[in-house]
Amino acid sequence: MQTADLLPLVLVLAAVAYGSAYMRSRAVAAPLGGIRNLKALPAYYAARAALWCAIPALIILGAWAAFEGKVIQNIVMASLPAELTPQSAGHASLTLSQISNLAAGKLNPAMVPDGISSAAVLLQELREQSSRFKSLLVVLIAVLGGTFAWTRVAPTINARKSVERTLQRLFFVCAAVAILTTIGIVFSVIFETVRFFGKVPMSEFLFGTNWSPQTALRADQVGSEGAFGVIPLFTGTLMISAIAMLIAVPVGLLSAVYLSEYASPRMRSVVKPLLEMLAGVPTVVYGFFAALTVAPFIRDLALMLGLEASSQSALAAGLVMGIMIIPFVSSLSDDVINAVPRSLRDGSLALGATQSETMKNVIFPAALPGIMGGILLAASRAIGETMIVVMAAGLAANLTANPLDSVTTVTVQIVTLLTGDQEFDSAKTLAAFALGMMLFIVTLLLNVIALKVVRKYREQYD
């Protein structure tokens, strides 16, 4: 039986275990004078039986699925005659796919050596055996587990406790999945980054002012030296993010002030969702809005003013990105402004301060840490944003301070380095991981600062 069929079967068994344990617990309770005399409610005995039935079986199933392929592979490879034993890793994977294709009937047996075809037969056999064993074992364990729990339905045993404990562990496992994934991502990036720094010195990467990642593919190729200085990328990223923040912070903040202090409840109930809808627009839509509408408009405007502007400009990307992150700033600011206690507002108003004086002198300073947190979160969002800049900012790694020039960003370069047919061990592709690492560190720092600031703010009023 396949894993896909075993899963529902285990669940059915668990349901059966649940039902029978439920019935048994009622039956056990009846002579004692009702379920009040059990240590736990029948549902707990039943849940425990279901857990006993399902969890060990699922663990076995998972472990089997994880190791089955590898073990069978090793046995098959070991069975190959000496002359067919692969010499390199590449050769080994070629031989393996030959064997499995043959086993799957996709390859004509006449076209391969005898050793390979007998290995294919062995592979097929092992797979069938493994599948039979697996089904048997899983069902057996499920039934045993369920039965064990069923026999332990007794008025003196507290099933509630063990169910609680199991659930607690289950929740921990779920939380661990997220954390482990993050750690896994970090490690895979670190690994590639270290390989990159083996090819390009770190000082050149961090302080170089020239970015042109085209390396020679062949020894005789000319003109592709490859330069990996991130400074132009980070200045591009910073410029676009700065333009975005320049738009988003004032607009977002003032709209938050309007929403929380001045708008009537009806106005607020209309405007706030509309503003938050901006956050729901896919970034790719913002991207072509920037590339097709805003960038040409800015170029024409600049030409009218007698300025030279490229058709892909940092300004266009920054402006649109600024609009995109307005809801981050406004929504978070609105929340913290609302969280300022009403008593402070009243205290200021009762002293004869106007609404705007109250806003400026009392509410805003009190909410400032929270607002800063929101702004920093928006900034890390702006720095990591990819789609808009890919479409609107350009690819040229210019080291410039002119927002009308085209610039490129870290994220854009990662995308261009990794798309298309690439070798995964050249400095060019590895550079993407180093860039990703840098970006990760920068946004992580921003997020940590933001969370610290927000937490400090919370302590002040709770």
């Binding site: 402070l344 009243d346 205290g347 108003l349 009762a350 004869g352 106007t354 300073p365």
Partner: protein, 275 residues
């Protein structure tokens, strides 16, 4: 014998108040005041005079409308959208609710101290200087220093804080915070100070300090105090007004209210039969 001792009035009738609700030279002249939250009435046709430089206490069970009524006097109910106020409310003969009236000027004249101490998260100095700065009462730093010192002295807080005026106000004890709020209110030289249960969040010692302070302040200000503590009303006020379910049932000299109430409901309340 016992019949003659019991209060004469037993029923509540809208707009009818027993005792002495009016005065010859009122600071506040309030007639037929009605307040609605949406459709539901919170204050039902109350008429009352608040005399110059008197301390008047508003007492009554929770939800009787005494705080709502107090907040009408400096238009703090304005910020509540659904709140509607009818009737005539005059401060020194001028309509408080005149649409042309500047609410900033009104609140500068009618200060307020709230139930929970609400110092701004600023320094002690900046808290007291907040009002004078907004109203431009002190042009030079030395003037402002004087205003701050005087207000803190009047609030009986100067000696405790004079060495740490730059410390955060939120770090003080509850009683100190409330006295700071009083100092903050009197720093703008109001004519009236409204106090909405100023001691309900304080311990007995801090409460005693505030009550002393009210007695001192009553020489220069008109004070309206809402309180849940009848002993407090008896200790600090000249007159006491008893509110019941949005009605003003009885107003009289404090000693009279607490010894010989004219209304049965007042008697029930002060003897602790409900409330």
């Amino acid at each position: 014998m016992s019949i003659s001792m019991s209060p004469a009035e037993t029923t509540i009738e809208e707009g009818k108040t027993v005792g002495i609700p009016f005065s010859d030279d009122p600071k506040f002249h309030l007639r037929n005041v009605e307040v609605f939250y949406g459709e539901s009435p919170a204050i039902k046709n109350i008429s009352l005079d608040i005399a110059r430089n008197e301390v008047i206490a508003f007492i009554g069970p929770s939800g009787c409308g005494k705080s709502t009524f107090l907040r009408c006097l400096n238009r703090m109910n304005d910020s509540i959208e659904s709140c509607q106020i009818k009737g005539s409310l005059l401060l020194d003969g001028q309509d408080i609710y005149d649409p042309k009236r500047d609410v900033v000027e009104l609140r500068a004249r009618v200060g307020m101290v709230f139930q929970k101490p609400n110092p701004f998260p600023k320094s002690i100095y900046d808290n007291v200087a907040y009002g004078p700065r907004i109203h431009g009462l002190a042009n030079r730093k030395s003037d402002l220093d004087d205003v701050v010192e005087n207000s803190l002295r009047k609030a009986g807080l100067w000696n405790e804080v004079k060495d740490r005026l730059d410390a955060m106000a939120t770090g003080m004890s509850g009683g100190q915070q409330q006295r700071l709020c009083i100092a903050r209110a009197i720093a703008v030289s109001p004519e009236v100070v409204l106090m909405d249960e100023p001691c309900s969040a304080l311990d007995p010692i801090a409460t005693a300090r505030i009550e002393e302070l009210i007695a001192e302040l009553s020489e220069s200000y008109t004070i309206v105090i809402v309180t849940h503590s009848m002993q407090q009303a008896a200790r600090v006020s000249n007159r006491t007004a008893y509110f019941h379910l949005g009605h003003l049932v009885e107003v009289n000299d404090t000693s009279k209210v607490f010894t010989m109430p004219e209304h049965e409901l007042t008697e029930s309340y002060i003897t602790g039969r409900f409330g």
